[in-house]
């Protein structure tokens, strides 16, 4: 990996949106910073970094996962569990030697 990535590191932004559209509102978010410059943890922010997924794209984040739309299992139509609309974004950033 050191050879492939060189001094380039990945930052990952995970946005949970209010429906399956990329321009719908951000409800929850997580950031993992492979550069080591930022350290995020649970409950460290009350304000989402972007209002919508599209706004994140306009700020330079590249979409690397679109969540599939999977119908509910029969008999399980009314139960709730994980967020359904989990979009994953990345940025690549060079770090010092």
């Amino acid at each position: 990996m050191g050879v492939l990535m060189g001094n380039r590191r990945q930052k990952v932004l995970v946005l949970y949106l209010s429906n399956s559209a990329l321009d719908s509102n951000v409800l929850a978010w997580s950031i993992y910073d492979g550069t080591g410059k930022e350290a995020h943890t649970t409950g460290d922010s009350d304000v989402p970094p972007y209002k919508t997924g599209l706004e994140a794209m306009r700020a330079g984040w590249r979409v690397i996962q679109f969540p599939q739309l999977i119908p509910p299992y029969p008999g399980d139509e009314y139960s709730t569990s994980f967020y359904k609309h989990e979009f994953i974004f990345e940025q690549l950033e060079d770090v010092d030697g």
Binding site: Y16, L27, W29, T42, G43, D44, Y78, T80
Partner: protein, 283 residues
């Protein structure tokens, strides 16, 4: 049995069903809080799972005195009945300058019951924001997840950091999503948690004098900023189901969500051919 005036009312019960928690600020007096801190630092004896709660704590211990307060008895009796079982307890400690929070989680395992356990979280000392405290996401208790599977969710709209005065008691539905937030102070943070199991059917155990108050329905219709557009409607339906279970009213509904999908009429229109004869005609 505790005096009727100490039981929760219907609006508080509706809040518990909606939010998944109730909080009682500054409930325990300083004498209990200070004794609790000494006992936590010295270490506390537990009891086997399933022990009657009344057999677990010495009457003169801090937790024994806390649980004997009529206000606490009323809370417990309203939610899980008069003689609950002790599940387990734990003294939760966040060390000074502990930078990383716990991952978000639900306790125990995935749990599909309408019957519920409660967890009492007791904060013996004041908790400023920089000390944590426990982070809750109100309304998440209907979401079926297994413990730390939700650990990747760092922040959710509407999350609530527990900032409180000493002696505050938080009462949780077992399913609510929560975690211990980071403690950036130079002091250790303590929280005591105890889980209780009901031994009776959870049916109108509280003071139901205000059951018909319109405020109850308003509380049960509350939406949260973390709700997805579509599944947020399912949250309201699941909430109505729990309210039906607790009140014994099989027709309770908020905004017609359940009633609509339960409507499957079987009454035949007068003069309509019986099913068998229609089948013969089609042949």
């Amino acid at each position: 049995m505790v005096d009727h005036r100490y039981l929760l009312n219907s609006k508080q019960m509706a809040s518990f069903v909606t939010e998944g928690y109730l909080r009682f600020d500054n409930l325990a007096p300083d004498t209990i809080n200070q004794a609790a801190m000494r006992e936590f630092e010295a270490g506390m004896r537990g009891a086997p799972y399933g022990t009657p709660l009344s057999d677990v704590y010495a009457q003169d211990s801090a937790i024994g005195r806390l649980l004997a307060m009529p206000e606490v008895q009323g809370i417990i009796q309203s939610l899980v009945g008069p003689n609950p079982l002790f599940d387990h307890h734990a003294i939760h400690v966040r060390q000074a300058n502990e930078a990383a929070a716990q991952h978000l989680h639900g306790d125990a395992v995935i749990d599909t019951r309408q019957h519920f356990d409660i967890q009492l979280m007791y904060f013996p000392h004041a908790i400023p924001l920089e000390m944590g405290g426990t982070l809750l996401v109100p309304g998440t208790h209907f979401r079926r997840i297994n413990e730390s599977e939700i650990g990747r969710y760092q922040n959710m709209r509407g999350q609530l950091p527990m900032v409180c005065d000493s002696g505050t008691l938080l009462v949780l539905h077992h399913g609510i999503w929560h975690c211990g937030r980071q403690n950036t102070t130079g002091r250790i943070r303590y929280m005591f948690k105890i889980r209780l199991n009901p031994t009776v059917r959870q049916l109108r155990l509280w003071n139901t004098d205000d059951l018909g108050d319109p405020e109850v329905e308003r509380i049960l219709a509350k939406r949260y900023p973390w709700f997805e557009d579509a599944s947020g409607r399912l949250e309201i339906m699941n909430r109505s189901r729990l309210w039906r279970f607790l009140t014994g009213n099989p027709e309770y509904d908020t905004d017609y969500w359940l009633t609509r999908v339960e409507n499957m009429p079987e009454t035949l229109l007068a003069g309509a051919p019986a099913q068998g004869s229609l089948h013969r005609q089609l042949q």
